[in-house]
């Protein structure tokens, strides 16, 4: 099992994230299919995308908040693989301490494998329940509360309200 939001603790807050990994669609599919957490929040963004960056602090807060509560937060950047260092620098600047990914060529094959209904526009968010079913998704930005509410609903639905961080 891959606990992508496995805790490092606040002591690592200042530690540079060096876990940016280039990932292809097969690896991402495998990563998701091997999750045992009840909820997966899959979010595509890019340092090239100003709206994505505007809401990225929310992604960090969500990853922190739901860590250890049965939620896997997968943040996948659509940056060029040549831009991995810049992605890493951006994450460090924002004190991100969870592993993140850079999609290896987010092309038609990659996008379609995620969802036939995703146009490829960024940002894009997908919420999967314990069965691996996409139960909510959208393109574009939302408020922190909107993201958090979907995750909360999924967690509560799966765990009958027992997990409310």
């Amino acid at each position: 099992m891959l606990m992508l939001v496995a805790g490092c603790g606040n002591r690592d807050r200042e530690t540079a994230v060096k876990l940016v990994k280039v990932i292809d669609i097969h690896e991402l599919k495998n990563l998701i299919s091997t999750q045992t957490n009840d909820v997966v929040f899959l979010h595509f963004w890019s340092t090239y995308c100003p709206p994505c960056m505007d809401e990225f602090p929310s992604m960090i807060t969500l990853a922190d908040k739901w860590e250890g509560h049965g939620v896997t937060v997968l943040l996948v950047s659509a940056d060029s693989r040549r831009n991995v260092v810049a992605v890493n620098d951006y994450l460090v600047k924002h004190q991100m301490r969870h592993p993140c990914y850079v999609a290896d060529n987010l092309n038609d094959t990659f996008i379609t494998a995620i969802s036939q209904n995703w146009s490829g526009a960024l940002p894009a968010s997908f919420f999967l329940d314990s069965h691996g079913t996409i139960v909510e998704s959208w393109e574009g930005t939302r408020s922190y509360e909107a993201y958090d509410q979907v995750i909360r609903n999924l967690v509560n639905g799966d765990k009958k309200g027992n997990m409310k961080p």
Binding site: N105, N117, G120, A121, A124, E139
Partner: protein
């Protein structure tokens, strides 16, 4: 989590496009809103119908700020300019709200066209309603129509935004070649990464993929 990858097949019929309340164009659909006038960089008011070529029409939704547009820019210009010489009408449409990004205002639009050597019109969709009518959602996003004005290709430029040399599938170019050679387009629809169109506020977002 195994079922995740089967879900798109189930959900494909559930699509309603962002902010429009209508489904997007499907292969075989006619050019929508082709008589709507839009301001071109030269100050003229142009409609898609006026730009349409006798062998086909290429409509590209684009913008100025988007890094993915910039990554594909050279290929888009090359394809667009080549179409002009082959009696395929080309029009690039900017539907993004300059209030959301100043780079989308008219001076930037004009500057981009001049700097990149566009030989085709680059027009302003002042309400974003043309994008809504097409079901366009991102930039860049291409729609290719045949001589009858029916959609024969919709999607991206090719399969590698950041490295033209590593692109293995030149979707748009291949579709244009098929059109000119009188063949059926093999790959009719593709997806590609892009910036969400900065729709004017009337009814967008939400940009829900499923409802």
């Amino acid at each position: 989590m195994k079922s995740f990858w089967l879900l798109p097949l189930v959900c494909v019929l559930m699509t309603i496009l962002p902010g429009s309340g209508i489904a997007g164009l499907r292969i075989g659909d006619p050019i929508p809103v082709k008589d709507v006038k839009m301001k071109n960089i030269d100050g003229r008011e142009l409609s898609i119908g006026e730009v349409a070529g006798d062998r086909g029409t290429l409509v590209i939704f684009s913008c100025n700020h988007c890094p993915f547009v910039k990554a594909w820019q050279g290929r888009i210009v090359s394809i667009g300019n080549n179409c002009v010489g082959r009696r395929i009408g080309v029009i690039m449409i900017n539907s993004s709200d300059p209030a959301a990004d100043l780079e989308e205002d008219f001076p930037h639009i004009k500057n981009q066209a001049d700097a990149q050597g566009y030989m085709f019109p680059y027009v302003v969709d002042e309400t974003s309603d043309v994008a809504r009518a097409f079901g366009a959602r991102r930039t860049p996003e291409a729609f290719l129509f045949d001589a009858k004005g029916l959609l024969i290709y919709h999607g991206g430029i090719d399969d590698n935004a950041f490295d033209a040399d590593e692109a293995t599938k030149n979707y748009l170019k291949d579709a244009i070649d098929a059109l000119l050679e009188g063949h059926e387009v093999k790959i009719k629809e593709t997806k590609s990464q892009g910036c969400g169109i900065l729709f004017r506020s009337k009814d967008a977002p939400p940009d829900e993929i499923y409802r």
